[in-house]
Amino acid sequence: MLLRSLVAVTAALISTSALAEGTAPDAVAFGEDGQVMASLTNVAGDPAAGKKYFTNRKLGNCLACHVNDDASEQSFHGEVGPELNGAGSRWDEAQLRGLVVNSKKTFEDSIMPSFYRAKNGARTMEKFAGKTILSAQQVEDVVAYLITLKEE
C-alpha cells in the first residue's frame, strides 16, 4: 500500500508534464519481480476502454489464452494461461502493469506476448517491426481493467 501511495504521489508530481506518447518502451523501469511502478502515460487508465483492448483480437487478444468470466459475452476463451478471474485481487497495479508490458520479467520464458516492448521475436513482419502491440495508453487502460477483476 505504501507502494501505491508512492506511485500516486509521483504521478501527481509529473502529471503536469504528461507524456503524450508515453514512456518509450526501452525506458520502462522494472522492479525485481517484474513490476512497473510508474504509469507509462500519467493519464489514469480507463477500464471500459481497457476491456475493449483486452478482447480485441488484433490488440490484446487476451482471451486467446485466458478465461475471463467478466467477458463471458465473448465466445471462446482459451486455456493456455491461468484464468484471470480475480486477477485484480491477486496482483497489485505495478505487477499487473509489468505483466502486460513484458510478461517475461515476471514469468521467465512465458509464452505470453510482451505487449509494450520495442524488439520482439526474430523475423517480425516489417509492418510490425519496432512497434509495440499495445500503445502506452492502451497498456494503462488494460491495467485499469484488470484491477477491476476482483475475487468474488
Binding site: L63, S75, H77, F107, E108, I111, N120, G121, R123, I133
Partner: protein
C-alpha cells in the same frame, strides 16, 4: 511476489488437457469402415514428446467424421483430378506420368520417408521437388508452383498410396545437418508475438487457444483439406500460416529453412500413421 517458472503452466496445461481431450481421445479413426488408423502412438525414447497424437484427435466430431469416409472427404475431388493429370501428356517430350510410372500404387511407402536426403545433390528431396524434377527433366514441362492446386493434388494422390503406414524419416547421415537446422528453427521465438513452434505445439497441445484446439502440429495428414480455405494445403503452406499468425515473416515454400523444418517436424512424428489426405478446420 515470487518469480514463477514453467511448472505453473505445466500443471495448468496438464489439468486442462485431462478435461478437454478426453472425449476426443476415445474416438477411433476408421476410414471407409475398414482401414483402422492408430491416432495415438508411443514416442521414441529421444522424442521431446511423451506420446504422439495425430492432429485428427483434436478436431471436432464433424471434422473427424468427414475424414472417415472418402465420399465425405472433400480431398478426394482433388485426388480424382490428380488421377486424370497423372495420365495426361504434358511437356515437350510427349509424356505423361503414367508413361513411366505405370501404376501410381508403385509410390507406396514414399510418403513415409520424405523429406529424404539426396546424396547426389546434397539436398533434401521433398515430394514437391521429386514431382517437379520429373516434370522439368523427364517431361520437358513447366514446374508446378509449390502450393498451387496441381501440385497439392498430385501430392495427395501419391501420399494416399502410403495411407496406413507409419512415418519413418531418416535424420542421420546426410540428413543430420538439416535436422539440426530444423530443430533450431522449431525452438526459435519469432514474430511480434514472440513465440516458437514449441510454445504452442509442444508446451500447449490439448489446450484451447481461443477457438482452436491445439494439436502437436504433426504432418502425417498432409496434404490437408482445410474447411477454412476449402482447398488442399501443403505442409510448408501451413508453416507459413502459423508464422504469419504470430506476425513473423514466413520463409518461402521450398526454401532450405522450411525444408529443414519439414524434416524436423516429420521426425517428431516418426511412428504416427500417414492419413493423407486428411480433413482439418
Amino acid at each position: 511476489m515470487k518469480k514463477f517458472t514453467k511448472t505453473l503452466t505445466c500443471v495448468i496445461a496438464a489439468s486442462a488437457f485431462a478435461t478437454v481431450a478426453v472425449a476426443d481421445e476415445d474416438a477411433k479413426l476408421i476410414i471407409n469402415d475398414e482401414l483402422k488408423i492408430e491416432t495415438n502412438v508411443a514416442a521414441s525414447a529421444d522424442s521431446p514428446l511423451d506420446e504422439l497424437f495425430s492432429g485428427w484427435v483434436f478436431r471436432s466430431n464433424e471434422t473427424q467424421l468427414m475424414q472417415m469416409d472418402d465420399f465425405d472427404n472433400p480431398s478426394f475431388i482433388f485426388v480424382e483430378q490428380a488421377e486424370e493429370q497423372f495420365a495426361k501428356v504434358d511437356g515437350t517430350e510427349g509424356k505423361a506420368c503414367a508413361t513411366c510410372h505405370e501404376d501410381v500404387a508403385s509410390f507406396k511407402g514414399l510418403r513415409t520417408v520424405l523429406p529424404r536426403h539426396n546424396a547426389s545433390t546434397g539436398k533434401l528431396d521433398t515430394m514437391a521437388t521429386l514431382i517437379n524434377d520429373c516434370r522439368t527433366d523427364r517431361m520437358g514441362a513447366e514446374p508446378w508452383k509449390f502450393s498451387k492446386g496441381k501440385m497439392t493434388s498430385m501430392k495427395a494422390l501419391i501420399s494416399l498410396q502410403s495411407r496406413g503406414m507409419p512415418m519413418n524419416v531418416a535424420v542421420d547421415g546426410g540428413a543430420a545437418e538439416a535436422f539440426e537446422k530444423g530443430k533450431e528453427l522449431y525452438y526459435t521465438r519469432v514474430g511480434q508475438l514472440d513465440m516458437s513452434c514449441a510454445n504452442c505445439h509442444e508446451d500447449n497441445y490439448g489446450n484451447m487457444i481461443r477457438a482452436d484446439h491445439l494439436s502437436q502440429g504433426q504432418t502425417n495428414g498432409f496434404p490437408t483439406y482445410r474447411l477454412k480455405n476449402a482447398k488442399l494445403n501443403s505442409i510448408q503452406g501451413r508453416f507459413k500460416g502459423c508464422m504469419k499468425n504470430i506476425r513473423a515473416t514466413p520463409y518461402k515454400e521450398g526454401s532450405d529453412e522450411f525444408t529443414a523444418l519439414e524434416l524436423y517436424v516429420a521426425s517428431r512424428g516418426n511412428g504416427l500413421i500417414v492419413e493423407s489426405p486428411s480433413v482439418r478446420n
